[in-house]
Symmetry: C2
Subunit: 510 residues, 2 copies
Amino acid sequence: MTRDVPSSAWTSLGDYLRETQLLGSIQSTLYWDQNTRMPSGGAAWRGEQLALLARQLHARQSCERYAALIGEARQAWQASSEQTSEAERLAQARNLDLLEQELHRQQALDPDLVSAIAVAKSEGYECWQQAKAASAFDQFAPSLKRMVALRQEQARQLAEPRSCWETLAQPFEPDLTLARLQELFAPLRQRLPELLGQLQGGPRPTALSWDLEAATQQDLCDQLLKCWGRDESITCVAASPHPFSITLGPRDFRITTRVVAGQPLSCFLATAHEWGHSLYEQGLPPSSHQWFAWPLGQATSMAVHESQSLFWENRVARSQPFAEHWWPRFAAAGAPIANAIDLWRAMNPMAPGCNRVEADELSYGLHILIRTDLELALLEQGLEVEALPSEWNRRYGELLGVTPADDAEGCLQDVHWSEGLFGYFPSYLLGHLISAQISEAMETAIGAPEEHVRRDDLQPVLSWLREAVHPIGRALNAEQLVASVTGRPLSSEPFLRYLESKIERLLALS
Amino acid sequence: MTRDVPSSAWTSLGDYLRETQLLGSIQSTLYWDQNTRMPSGGAAWRGEQLALLARQLHARQSCERYAALIGEARQAWQASSEQTSEAERLAQARNLDLLEQELHRQQALDPDLVSAIAVAKSEGYECWQQAKAASAFDQFAPSLKRMVALRQEQARQLAEPRSCWETLAQPFEPDLTLARLQELFAPLRQRLPELLGQLQGGPRPTALSWDLEAATQQDLCDQLLKCWGRDESITCVAASPHPFSITLGPRDFRITTRVVAGQPLSCFLATAHEWGHSLYEQGLPPSSHQWFAWPLGQATSMAVHESQSLFWENRVARSQPFAEHWWPRFAAAGAPIANAIDLWRAMNPMAPGCNRVEADELSYGLHILIRTDLELALLEQGLEVEALPSEWNRRYGELLGVTPADDAEGCLQDVHWSEGLFGYFPSYLLGHLISAQISEAMETAIGAPEEHVRRDDLQPVLSWLREAVHPIGRALNAEQLVASVTGRPLSSEPFLRYLESKIERLLALS
């Protein structure tokens, strides 16, 4: 940061951003509590609290004073050309570009809409929980319909040169276009069903017929995080209906998991997954770093976030060498696991089901393609909300060969749409692509992740990620980050290569 | 509320108060999380979050706009004499009086001081936790010294015609004077040590030599709350280092407990206690009531609050008929309890110890007298913070005949001073007095609480409290409430009568 006179503009803007981040983290704390502790009766008031904070945040991020602070910082930047290095000037410019973009978006939105969306998110979440418990989509449909309308209105007010869905996807995948997404997904649309057919031709592993006590699962999760170096003084683990990771402060990282009856590995793999998210957040610029409260201190996209969670879940916890180290612990916990192959096979059922979160790496992509197509249809192609359950079930039958027993197992399974998070699901699949492509780069740099797992020393893996990926923040967008780390544009090939190799090895077991 | 033109001033003020309450409840949610979930590393950022909210709240409660809203409401009140009933006018006037009093207090405080106190509370709490864990008062002394100085400065800025301690006690006990407090405490200063001596002359019950698993204690607590009609959709129970009750929304009531090794009844009695607090909050005017966000919708004093928690802990859970119903449950849980007398005796050890929260009803008052004298000495009589441990231990030796093993068991045992809550402790003992006096009034009205416990039907007890005590809010201050409910001024006699009778019955067992 420059220390001459214009730098006071940078300091003022930085202080302002820090206070915005404080407010945002208060909002996150309310969200955390809502999902982990709050009694259901608290929902309406929590909705009012969140709406109040949303109004405050929107006001802070769209007001004249903030615009002036950014303007003054831009002027300071233009005046500081001789005092700062080129790299620093570029970083400053990137920060300003991102702040200006976000400011324009906030200014484009009617405060009443912002408030209405905050209330609808909170009420929608509560409504979804009840509708899911009752497996009654009808109960949820009015909420969802209202949320679709509010988000469509949001896209209209933003008036970007993008389609409605593209506009809504920007917060999750900055700069992503629908055309680029379809280009990346096209090989998957073709190849994933083929691979599924290949598996279904051969002998198929059956679903697990055993289970573990909740406390036993929790103990295995505790062991996992201990092995992976969890620092209890800055992390916290709780239970919630839907696992998530959230950061409440520069030294306050939280994850949640859940125990699913009949799915003894679900909690364990969810823990690995959410911990991967948390590691990315823990590796972002710390509060002592100059860009901590600036865009460059933030996660660059949900797909990159997901690539980090998927890395720890799939490349580490579902790997064969991991099973070699861990099968004795599962056996000791009472699981009918007699050797590494038993555990590896259990970790990789490669059997399509109705549930996205419990899905294996192969069928996962199909869950996402269905959601992507359906939210595009809801937002841009006039699909009626009422038709969602039947459209959902039809696609599951066609692509995965399964039929949800009810709406709870079908189109009510995910929380996202209840909070109006349209444009979010594709990030999960993009995360698979990015994780695979980054893993290939890691292999070139320090050896394959599986080899580090085999040596039971993940420190080099984490160190490499902490250098190559985590601290970049929003200095690069997702595709730029991938190109920078791997030397190639993002593509679906590394993911398909990885999948094919794994399926081949799994089939060879039989 | 009047519906004519001036009533818009009432509506505007009510809306404003509601938003203030939203912000306050957000602050409470952060406090709840800090005590039940937050990793220790989150403390500094949480302190900044709380300081930000404290600044916002202080600004809202001291700004010109708020003063104008109150002024307009006062004018509307003066103009509305013909449209409203006398009772309603009196309630409106009481609301305005209390709002004006609080406004003047807020306006008297420097915003920097408000912010500094918020930071010092958060840091002090964290520091106290660590110092207590290490039993090292030296680690905590600088925080405490700073907090004493900040609170003395607060009293100076408030500049009320009251002493420093009296000024700081006002938020907990509105209208209480030190002279009145000493008048109420004088009979206790004389009589409690005499009663203790009487007990020590006779055969003494020894401390419990058994314990129960944490999960078993939790199960008994769950049974208790179920018996007492807990509605899980509006209540939540968690663990924290120090038990407390807090309200996060009109339908979101939380309590915490803790398991203390070697004290198998501690968690159970703390649950009863905190539930009593929560019942009072649950009985305050609901969000549909016109006074919900107004002073008349709030708890009137900490002593009244404490009277409600002590009622359920002491008059119900520690009563002999309660032991008659509950001893089989404790026996089934593995406690060495063979009959009602065993449980009743275990619930009422009447053996002085070092710990306030675990104290019996007799020695509890002595714990409070010591704290009251010490905080008066710290704030008004120049006692050095460094001398606190030795002064503490000396008084415990003199009054209770016990010596804390270390500072953790001594002057570090309570959280209050770490957060600068001076003037709070006396409310606990006043709560005993109020509970006893209200219990006598209850006996006259519907029969003694113990008789309802014997019939295993507490509904009449709760209904009576919900009519006579809970909904009054701040319409009456603590002493007015007692006088109104019992027909007599508050006195220590009912409490001493109750204690003497109980001790006599306990001694008769031997």
